[in-house]
């Protein structure tokens, strides 16, 4: 996993609440067996016309969006399906951080495991960010993970929450499976005390 420390980037704004993972990446693109190349399908049904041509007014199709590392979205981002293809597609497109007032649980977990930082801000900051992005689409923000701060163009600093564990994993690019594998002796001890509650060994047919 690529470490996340500090990024300074322009912002793409998508002021819609409850953007579900079926919009982030529609199900017909989930027939892949790899993680690669999903960025081309990001927001596919919003971004392309039925003939496959890009819709010029859709935010991620606008000039400069390709260079943006920060996506600003409405409340409850990533609700719906558990597909990790959603963060894979966002990252493959180039995003490293998403700002919202809240994230759906599974999406948030999936994002953090892939080095994509979910930044939760209060309603006032959220509104202010959308106003800035609308007034000037080239608005640049800085996100500093060590400081847990978001720095606005006017110098205003806003702090965002993140738990110690995920922060450390992101800052150092640590993969969480490594942490779990190190618990092997404790897992064995647990299993010694708790016999399997079900076994799928008996199969009919």
């Amino acid at each position: 996993m690529q470490p996340f420390t500090r990024i300074t980037s322009r912002v793409v704004a998508l002021p819609i609440d409850n953007i579900d993972t079926d919009q982030i990446i529609p199900a017909r693109f989930l027939k892949t067996i790899s993680k690669e190349g999903l960025g081309q399908h990001l927001f596919a049904d919003w971004r392309y016309n039925p003939d496959g041509s890009p819709k010029p007014d859709f935010p991620i199709n606008q000039p400069g969006a390709r260079e943006a590392r920060i996506l600003l979205v409405g409340d409850n981002f990533g609700c719906g399906s558990s597909r990790e293809h959603a963060p894979w597609a966002l990252i493959d497109f180039g995003f490293r951080a998403i700002i919202s007032t809240s994230f759906a649980d599974i999406f948030r977990n999936n994002a953090l495991k892939n080095g994509l930082l979910p930044v939760v801000v209060d309603i006032d900051t959220h509104r202010q960010l959308f106003e800035m992005a609308e007034a000037d689409p080239s608005t640049v923000l800085t996100i500093d993970l060590a400081e847990q701060s978001l720095i606005l163009p006017n110098g205003k600093q806003v702090y965002f929450p993140i738990d110690t564990f995920n922060k450390k994993c992101l800052l150092e690019g640590i993969d969480q499976l490594g942490y779990l594998l190190k618990q092997e002796p404790l897992i064995q001890a647990y299993e010694a005390l708790h016999p399997a509650r079900v076994s799928t060994r008996i199969m009919e047919e």
Partner: protein
């Protein structure tokens, strides 16, 4: 000895924590891991890359449901990508020694239908699957939730997950459901009340007389859609209804093991004074058949109601989402949905694809004909459901009415297997998501119960099912 009163969730959580280091999430032991073809291939790749094995292949079970066609089994899979994905899970299961209910298996089906059916889902267990509707299994008093593919890899490798303890919320449903009002209407009513993010961060425990009166299949419908309110999981304390359902099932304990299990299971319900972080109440008597008008399950109204006006919504993001939804759905504020023409009816999915759902739909369709020009797809949730329905002659009722009777699978719930809407079409669907394009690009989904879906099949328009019940 007096101990602090615990909720059902607390008891299962505490029983499964392997270790919780300071400043780290808990390492939670997983009893049962369900996998399917869509969210697992990259996890197996990860194992191969690191040279890891599957730690507990016999606490794992696989099936094929999402991308499999529902046409007769002898018809080859037309989509090469779907065929490849299906081949991949077969190879992965063989390589790693995981039992697979594969294409030809007589008990294959939607992962959340077969788990309970086979008796794999049991009270007090932790159950995960790379699928958000894993919340379904909570109907048995298990802690069951959806995970991403990285976490699928974690569980395959270690049988554990890193988890932060969620908060608990009791959803108390008072009274009893009226005739024509189903478990689906109950859960849509709840989601409409609290919003699609209303449960974020919480595990729901459903309680109250209305919940106790539900059958296991109805309880599964309720728990299934917990995720549509954003809840991490939904649970219902096990009781005699649960135990009766489980007794004798393939993987359920037998003999002395059954007696010992019963003893453990009876201790699971929340203690009388247990505290929840939050409580929501709902009055079952006031619920009506529900239908969605928008593009998330919270955009739901009584079938007799009118489409709300976004102008009345103060929050900007919410207002814009609603305006966008109405544009997409081709509906106007203030409009009645009753009488609105529809093109397709889909009866199936892990929400409403079980035998009792098919019986309900059949009770409306019996002796009637599907309206000309309407396509009706009935897709059983599993091959076992299919056989049971055929044994009662339900398939004949569907076929004689003019509906299609299919093999099992997710089908038009997610439109990955070729069963899908055409752009602009309206469908009344018993599935769980009405997101834009969920049932095919440009398709418009109205979520409802099997009764409401069957009623629309007969009339060709949105219909109050109570008008067709004798």
């Amino acid at each position: 000895m007096t101990s602090t009163p615990c909720t059902l969730f607390d008891k299962i959580w505490d029983d499964h924590v392997v270790v919780e280091e300071p400043d780290s999430p808990a390492v939670l032991y997983i009893d049962l891991h369900l996998i399917h073809e869509v969210t697992s291939p990259q996890a197996f790749d990860g194992l191969r890359r690191r040279g890891l094995r599957v730690r507990r292949p016999h606490q794992t079970v696989a099936t094929i449901d999402h991308s499999i066609p529902t046409t007769p089994p002898e018809v080859p899979i037309a989509d090469p990508q779907a065929a490849r994905q299906i081949q991949q899970i077969v190879e992965n299961c063989r390589e790693f020694g995981i039992p697979l209910y594969g294409v030809g298996s007589p008990t294959r089906g939607i992962v959340h239908v077969i788990g309970p059916e086979l008796g794999l889902t049991q009270p007090g267990m932790t159950i995960v699957c790379g699928d958000s509707h894993t919340s379904t299994h909570g109907a048995f008093g298990a802690l069951a939730f959806g995970i991403g593919t990285s976490e699928v890899e974690h569980v395959l490798a270690t049988q554990c997950l890193l988890q932060r303890k969620p908060r608990t919320c009791q959803v108390y449903v008072d009274g009893y459901l009226n005739k024509g009002v189903t478990a689906k209407d109950l859960i849509l009513g709840l989601i409409a009340q609290i919003g699609s993010g209303g449960g974020t961060g919480y595990v729901f425990e459903y309680a109250g007389p209305a919940i106790r009166a539900l059958s296991m299949e109805e309880r599964m419908t309720v728990c299934n859609m917990s995720i549509e309110a954003g809840a991490r999981a939904g649970m219902i304390a096990p009781d005699d209804t649960t135990f009766e359902y489980l007794a004798g099932r393939l993987y359920a304990p037998k003999g002395e093991a059954w007696d010992a299990a019963l003893k453990r299971w009876r201790a699971l319900p929340s203690d009388p004074d247990a505290r929840f972080d939050h409580t929501i109440t709902l009055d079952a008597r006031r619920l009506e058949p529900m239908i969605t008008y928008g593009t998330n399950p919270a955009m739901a109204i009584p079938v007799t109601g009118v489409v709300p006006d976004p102008a009345g919504v103060s929050d900007l993001g919410e207002r814009q989402a609603m305006e966008k939804a109405l544009r997409y759905m081709g509906l106007r504020p203030g409009q009645r949905l009753l009488g609105h023409p529809i093109d397709v009816v889909f009866i199936g999915s892990c929400t409403n694809g079980r035998l009792s759902d098919l019986r309900q739909a059949a009770s409306v369709l019996k002796g009637r004909r599907v309206k000309e020009g309407v396509r009706v797809l009935v897709v059983p949730g599993s091959q076992s459901v299919k056989r049971a329905a055929e044994a009662e002659g339900l398939h004949r009722i569907f076929l004689e009415a003019g509906a299609e009777w299919r093999e099992s699978g997710c089908s038009m719930c997610i439109a990955m297997n070729g069963d899908q809407l055409q752009p602009g079409q309206y469908a009344v669907s018993t599935s769980n998501r009405n997101f834009e394009g969920r049932q095919g690009p440009g398709g418009r989904t109205l979520l409802a119960s099997p009764l409401t879906a069957a009623a629309a099949a007969i009339t060709g328009v949105v219909t109050d099912p109570r008008t067709l019940l004798e």
